[in-house]
């Protein structure tokens, strides 16, 4: 069996982290190819549901990243996001969802190297954890009728 390759989904803001990741590329810094990036306008717009949807569709780890405090393109989107994350992390931790698979970061447009390091670290960590099998998945067409048992 081939070695487990984790799938990590990164939700990033358009103005800082996405540009930062661009810089990683243009700077020719190598980083793990296991990450799938999804660009959104602002971390304030990254709904916590997206994280669950990612896990529900087979992600093994999730990164959420945006502008450093004070740098938000929309002034305070990341401050609002931070509050939401504080509560969301606590909730899913309480429910037994593995926080080692959910990572938050500030990566600016100038931090190409930080992005590479972040992704590589997260992928390594998730690789050690293995596939996130216990998380329920979206119905994928395998016949699984509910049994009353």
């Amino acid at each position: 069996m081939a070695e487990f390759e984790p799938k990590v989904v990164a939700f990033v803001c358009n103005w800082c982290t996405y540009a930062g990741a661009d810089l990683t590329g243009t700077s020719r810094i190598k980083y793990s190819p296991n990450v799938r990036m999804i660009r959104l306008p602002c971390t304030g717009r990254i709904d916590f549901m997206l994280l669950l949807q990612a896990f529900g569709q087979g992600a093994d780890g999730v990164i959420v990243s945006g502008c450093h405090p004070g740098d938000c393109h929309y002034t305070a989107g990341n401050f609002h996001a931070r509050r939401r994350w504080i509560l969301f992390r606590r909730l899913i931790e309480f429910m037994g969802i593995d926080l080692r698979r959910v990572h938050f970061a500030w990566v600016s447009a100038a931090e190409g190297a930080k992005w590479a390091e972040l992704v590589t670290n997260v992928v390594d960590e998730v690789r050690k954890l293995g596939p996130y099998q216990s998380f329920p998945k979206r119905l994928d067409g395998q016949p699984k009728p509910v049994e009353v048992a």
Binding site: L139, D140, P143, V146
Partner: protein
Amino acid sequence: MGEQRILQKASLGELFAKLIAGGQRILAPVKSDDRVEFAAVKTPDQIAGDYIQTTTSAKTAVFPRYETMLRFRLKGKDVDVDELTPEAKPTVLFGVHPCDAASFATLKAVFTWDSADAYVEPKLEKTTIIGLSCTKGDAYCFCTSVGGGPGDTRGSDILLTPIDATKYLAEILTDKGRAIVAAAPQLFTPANGEAKEPVLAKIAPRFAADKLAQKLSALFGKTDVWLNQSLRCIGCGACAYACPTCTCFDIQDERQRYGGVRMRCWDACGFGMFTLHASGHNPRAKQSERWRQRIMHKFSYQPERLKVLGCVGCGRCSRACPTDMNLGEHMQSLAETTV
């Protein structure tokens, strides 16, 4: 009435073993925390003893909360589609109260009238019901108002009544029931005219559903009556999901990028979205109209259309209701309302 036999409680284990060896799965009421639910059992000691009703009804055995219908893979302009018809496992539903057993007539009527439903009908065919008479009821029960009773045999293939601490009076009612007996004939000993009535729960009738059915269409336009009854209803689906005869469902697709399933799941007429048109028009926009639909559907439309009552008086809806909408009480009040 059916053929009467005696079955010792102590020999249930042997019966179960025989049935399981014969390829049957046995679903029976099992205690979990403070609730009792139908679940697969191997031995009689797993079965709950002292309870009025399971929280979820026996309908889940043939009509589960959700069920996948089709699987598809999207391939460019084309799509591969597989039908997913679940295997109907031979099942014995054991310890089903007479109200729940009666509900199978309604389920059968809905899912086989005009055309047979490929998901429910095969499961109905493969299900044998061993009923268990009720020796107690509560203020939510009203089976005797809807043509049933604590020792009613309708719907059961065998009805057991615990006539004393050690034995059941077994009424063998159908061919499916006789097949169960045939699996272990020595366990079913001859009866000597034992009566079940003394141990049955006493449930006083509150209204007469057959008489009420004729009156309901005249009550339809009395909007005040429906509003007054439904004011405290908050429009959740607890009653419908707890109900053994509620069969309304939704069909939805679940998709990942290149594939997914079509599935159906329970739905409830109490939800505002239930009848909402794409245009925004809603034939039943008010909660009172949805409450009226719930009553009319069960007590007027279904009897008229499918010749079967949509209520068996189990009282689950009322026990589940967060706002204590007691169906028996509401029906009684409708019966007492002058047209």
